[in-house]
């Protein structure tokens, strides 16, 4: 093959790479654009303050679902954040053994297990023994999804803290646990906060683990032992219903959900960028 042909072939293949990137961006904007056009046109105030109404009656909102999603995330956070951070601390600070290796490995695998399986697991574990669908079960399912993300973020940011910082603290007479709480964790905090934010972004968009744990509800509820509405399950039910006005509400809710999730992601990115590494 002479050089000219090789050169042209090279340009064509590089062009294909550029094309595939454009294709990826094209899909992103297509999906987001769709969401903007169909979501914004059905967006109105009653969506945020009203309860769901039966099909055929105009109006109706998803206010209870927005509150429900927040409540579920808070439950998940209360369970998931401490466990996630502490496990990350164990891996980096105490883990010179097989157990730390296994924790890291299992946590990585856990983060890739389909979330619907976690839903089934929590159904067997909590819903069957409580004999009812509950917000608590939904929160626990979401926390299992959250833990590996936070563990990974904690692990990676604590690894960046140089050993000299730890040694300085030991030299002042601080025991190891106080060193970790007062020196190491604050130094790695920005990475951990970024991890927590992306974990929240992730669980707020989860549907599958909630389908048969927290189920859904069309009323106000803050009780942990009762089914609770969430944005994602509401979107799913409305989108697969045959009623046009419900489908419109599904689009508007998707728009709200996407805005929350994307905002959290961008905030997390901004926060990560802002931090100063050693």
């Amino acid at each position: 093959m002479n050089y000219r042909i090789r050169k042209i072939y090279s340009e064509i293949m590089l062009g294909l790479c550029v094309f595939s990137f454009i294709l990826g961006v094209f899909f992103l904007f297509w999906i987001l654009g769709d969401l903007f056009i169909k979501g914004l046109s059905s967006l109105n105030l009653s969506l945020f303050i009203e309860l769901p109404k039966p099909p055929g009656i105009p109006g109706g909102g998803v206010a209870n679902a927005i509150v429900g999603t927040l409540l579920l995330s808070i439950i998940a956070g209360i369970i998931g954040i401490p466990i996630g951070i502490l496990a990350g601390v164990y891996i980096v600070e105490y883990g010179n053994n097989r157990l730390a290796w296994w924790t890291r490995f299992i946590s990585e695998v856990l983060s890739g297990i389909p979330t619907i399986i976690i839903g089934v697991f929590v159904y067997i574990l909590i819903v069957i023994s409580m004999k009812r669908f509950s917000a608590l079960a939904g929160g626990v399912a979401l926390s299992i999804i959250m833990i590996p993300i936070i563990t990974k973020a904690t692990e990676e940011s604590l690894k960046m803290v140089p050993n000299s910082v730890r040694e300085a603290s030991y030299a002042l007479g601080a025991p190891k646990w106080r060193t970790i709480i007062k020196v190491v964790l604050p130094s790695g905090s920005s990475g951990i906060v970024t991890g927590i934010m992306s974990a929240f972004a992730r669980i707020m968009g989860e549907t599958a683990p909630l389908l048969f744990t927290s189920l859904n509800s069309s009323f106000w509820s803050l009780r942990l032992d009762q089914p609770i509405a969430s944005l994602t399950v509401t979107i799913y039910n409305y989108a697969t219903s045959p009623y046009k006005e419900w489908q419109n509400i599904a689009w508007a809710s998707s728009f709200i959900l996407a805005m929350i999730v994307l905002l959290l992601n961008i905030l997390a990115k901004y926060y990560a960028r802002r931090k100063t590494h050693f």
């Binding site: 050169k7 072939y9 090279s10 340009e11 293949m13 590089l14 790479c17 550029v18 094309f19 595939s20 990137f21 990826g24 899909f27 992103l28 297509w30 999906i31 969401l35 169909k38 401490p82 466990i83 996630g84 951070i85 502490l86 496990a87 601390v89 164990y90 105490y94 157990l99 730390a100 296994w102 924790t103 490995f105 299992i106 946590s107 695998v109 890739g112 389909p114 979330t115 619907i116 399986i117 089934v120 697991f121 067997i124 025991p175 190891k176 646990w177 972004a201 968009g205 549907t207 599958a208 389908l211 994602t232 979107i235 989108a239 697969t240 959900l257 996407a258 999730v261 994307l262 992601n265």
Partner: protein, 302 residues
């Protein structure tokens, strides 16, 4: 003495948290296994090879769901893998340095979109296009293949596969990009100095060096496609049948569970659904565990 108590409490708390993670993983496997015993006892190995899934006569078997899961994932990989590699090459080799971060963030955003929104888009935007435009087009020109025969209904294997392809792009491309960026600069320079064109350098040196990592990325993308639930449930059509035609509606393991779990009245029905979850657990556990194992080993070696 007081110091020691604090140290012991804190250390044990971190140890406990680690154990919880491992315990949860073990408990998932144990609970699924126990809960699917009625189904395993009733159907045995036939569960994996028969094609009937009928709640009315209480006869269940997994093959239609497994078939759908594999077919949609294969479509997703065929369409998504080359695009992901292209994106990874573009970001790490072609685009100017100051654009690398922002452009990879844009692709990451594609991965941040919740799957239910992919489902909305697939159901209301993509499915009609497949039904009216792409389906008839494929049927007309490639209709001699068994894959493109029949009348496109909009929802089905092809639509689910396309949605999955878009969803796995960020996973594969971000891992591939990291692996590609780790190839030493000297090797690229050496290749160019020998007179290779830029593409030959990328193809033979960079990709040749990164191929095991890219392969691992592909498997992780496959793991995501195998387990994806909501987007697929909304566009697959939900019907337990095996058909070669990509236009026909089907079922995947996860969409079967999502659809029927809350409606399952019979004990056997519920147990069969949980056995499906167990099968999905096995498939994804081993694909992910194997690749993670190789990736971790690779990193440790460095």
């Amino acid at each position: 003495m007081r110091k020691n108590i604090g140290e012991r409490i804190f250390k044990n708390l971190t140890l406990l948290s680690s154990l919880i993670i491992i315990l949860v993983m073990g408990a998932i496997f144990y609970e699924l296994l126990i809960a699917s015993i009625p189904s395993i006892k009733r159907f045995g190995w036939r569960f994996l090879i028969e094609t009937i899934w009928d709640p009315v006569i209480e006869h269940f078997s997994a093959l239609p769901s497994i078939y759908g899961t594999i077919i949609t994932s294969i479509i997703a990989l065929i369409l998504g893998f080359p695009i992901s590699i292209g994106i990874a090459i573009f970001i790490s080799e072609i685009c100017p340095y100051y654009l690398k971060q922002p452009l990879s963030f844009i692709i990451e955003l594609l991965g941040a979109i919740p799957s239910i929104i992919y489902g909305m888009w697939g159901l209301f935007t993509l499915a009609p296009i497949i039904q009216i435009k792409i389906g008839p087009f494929l049927n007309k020109y490639l209709g001699f293949l068994p894959f493109f025969q029949g009348y496109p209904m909009g929802v089905g294997f092809l639509t689910a596969g396309i949605v999955l392809a878009i969803m796995i792009i960020p996973t594969i491309s971000s891992i591939s990009r990291e692996i590609i960026s780790a190839v030493p600069k000297e090797q690229r320079e050496g290749a160019l100095a020998l007179g290779m064109t830029q593409w030959e350098m990328i193809w033979k040196v960079v990709l040749g060096n990164a191929k095991s990592g890219i392969f691992a990325g592909g498997i992780l993308g496959l793991g995501r496609a195998l387990g994806e639930t909501m987007a697929v449930t909304m566009v697959i059509g939900n019907s337990p049948k095996i058909s070669l035609s990509l236009f026909s509606p089907g079922y995947t393991i996860s969409s079967t569970i999502a659809n029927e779990f809350t409606e399952a009245v019979g004990k056997l029905h519920l147990s069969s659904l949980i056995e499906l979850a167990l099968i999905l657990f096995f498939i994804t556990f081993f694909t992910i565990a194997l690749t993670r194992y190789f990736i971790i080993k690779r990193i440790e070696k460095r």
